[in-house]
Amino acid sequence: MTEQATLPLSAAPTTADILTLGMREREQSALRRAVRSMLRARWPVLALFILVVVVSVAILAPELSPKDPNRINLILRLKAPFEREQTGEMEFIFGTDALGRDVLSRLFYGARVSLLVGLTAVCIGGLLGTTLGILAGYFGGRVDDVIMRLADIQLAFPFILLAIMVLVILGRGVLNLVLVLGVGQWVTYARIARGTTMAQREKEYVEAAQSIGASNLRIMFRGILPNILAPLIVIASFNVASVILTEASLSFLGLGVPPTVPTWGGMLAESRDQLIANRWWLAVFPGVAIMLTVLSLNILGDWLRDLLDPRLRGTI
């Protein structure tokens, strides 16, 4: 069995002891519970598998790609997929695009941008939002008012419009894109963090920590944060999915990363010119890649929510 979580008797309890009381025990059984619930639900296993594949492809893109994703060869342009060469070999499994570039290799490299942008933006938004949310919830009053009014302003209009405006003015680029997408996400985290912090603030452990003179900063980030993490992680998993979709939309509009970098959204944008000629593979493959990735994240998010905090069902 797990070891009993008790305060060490040898020394007077420190703030850290009070704040982490019982956490080790929880961690161990949580992992076992997670594995069991995932096997029972079945779908999350498939989703996790797909995500592992996508992540591996992204990391190993240079090794896995059969061709250079940016190598232009006009003689080989618009080759249909699954076509055998005279040698009987399939040189371009997923065909080539209008510039003769290998679609499969571009898909592999595209996974890098989608995941990188998705994860970084969510980290930025998550850190920013959680910090502001905890501050608002912990201090209340004027701090709370200012932060929440800012949140209202941002929620007052569709985010993609703001992203479009800022990117048109600042110009496209990975850094701009990640920053805009990141800043766009903070409100969700802030609202949840604020609400849960307000509830935690009334708990005894906070009072105990305060009474032995722990600083506010320490209480907020060492004490309260670990206790409100569950819903924030759930939001983050859905959020990566929605950021990937937004990134695809922005790339489609020509506002994503520079055109030399292959992205799934960018590939879809290029496929539009080839639609009438029925070059279906240019549109189908990148779209399926986006959909499978986002679908897996959504399924995992659903599962994670039910596992960590079933009360959130229907709210996120």
Partner: protein, 325 residues
């Protein structure tokens, strides 16, 4: 209700100041915005002249104030391309966007309600399972990709629907020409079908899931059990007792829904070459016609803020708990 109204109005004003401030500051984030307005080969004198003409040499606070005064007078800046008023350009294309958004909203709601209710009342059956599977797919694909797929298969391969084109509905309606409206209607719907489905699919999926889960919650309430135990038919229990209460969270979403769809039209209109605001924005992005993009964002947010205000007020009127909070 009075204090709530005042508080809510004040909130909207703050939001509008915030939105315009962001839109104003975004322009200055890039350094000297004059360079966005002059050609790359402009001489120093020309740049200086443009800077003075555009007022970019003034202090920021004065510039923002001027900007606000101009907005209040309906001056949203001039298009760099056509030199005509940005507001006018947007005005010309706005009816097509409203048609598309309303149609999308109609699809999203009119289909989501029965689907969600059916899934909830048949919880755990294959019907429920497949509905939820479709819903999660609908929330996981980029809507513009669905648009491309519809064009590719429904439009080009099976030739069931036209892949692009637009027949005006709102314009004849505004002119009071009901006859043209009526003759246009069948064709207009044909053209609206694919772009409408495309912008609706995400909301449709989300709403169906929302209605399902809120139905399930209501169905487990005591008053539903009471209704059943007094011998009411299941149909009456579902429709009269459960359904009405399950609709509450959906009604709250309506205002946000319109804004959300409005945000989505930019991409979807581009896919279908729909002659609306979205395509104008896309075109302006490519031409770097910043005043038009800026004006669109500000106008969209005004609409969004206004709609939210109206929805909240209606909601507060219906549910006294809200305004007393």
């Amino acid at each position: 209700m009075g204090t709530y109204l005042v508080r809510r109005l004040l909130q909207s004003v703050i939001v509008i100041i915030g939105v315009t401030l962001i839109s104003f500051l975004a322009l200055h984030l890039s350094g000297d915005p004059t360079y966005l307005y002059v050609s790359e080969r402009a001489s120093n004198e020309e740049i200086q002249e443009a800077r003075e003409k555009l007022g970019f040499n003034q202090p920021l606070s004065k510039q923002y104030l001027d900007y606000m005064v101009n907005l209040a007078q309906g001056d949203f800046g001039d298009s760099l391309m056509t030199k005509s008023s940005a507001l006018e350009r947007i005005g010309q294309v706005v009816p097509a966007t409203i048609e598309l958004t309303l149609f999308g909203m109609f699809l999203a709601i009119s289909l989501a309600v029965p689907i969600g209710v059916i899934a909830a009342t048949r919880r755990g059956t294959p019907v429920d399972g497949s509905v939820m599977l479709f819903a999660i797919f609908g929330q996981s694909m980029p809507n513009f990709w669905l648009g491309i797929m519809l064009m590719l298969f429904v439009g080009l391969r099976w030739e069931l629907l036209p892949i692009s084109g637009h027949v005006p509905l709102i314009e004849p309606l505004v002119d009071g020409d009901f006859k043209t409206f009526a003759t246009n209607l069948p064709d207009a719907i044909k053209y609206l079908m694919m772009p409408g489905i495309t912008i609706a699919v995400f909301s449709l999926s989300r709403n169906a899931r929302l209605i399902r889960s809120s139905m399930l919650e209501v169905l487990s309430q005591d008053y539903v059990r009471t209704a059943r135990s007094k011998g009411l038919k299941e149909r009456a229990v579902v429709m009269r007792h459960a359904f009405r209460n399950a609709l509450i969270p959906v009604v709250t979403m309506l205002g946000l829904e319109f804004g959300f769809l409005l945000g989505g039209v930019v991409v979807v209109e581009t896919v279908f070459s729909w002659p609306g605001v979205g395509r104008l924005v896309f075109y302006s992005i490519n031409q770097r016609d910043i005043p038009v993009v800026q004006a669109t964002v500000v106008i969209f947010s005004f609409v969004f803020v206004g709609l939210n205000l109206v929805v909240d007020l209606i909601y507060a009127r219906l549910d006294p708990r809200i305004r007393l909070k």
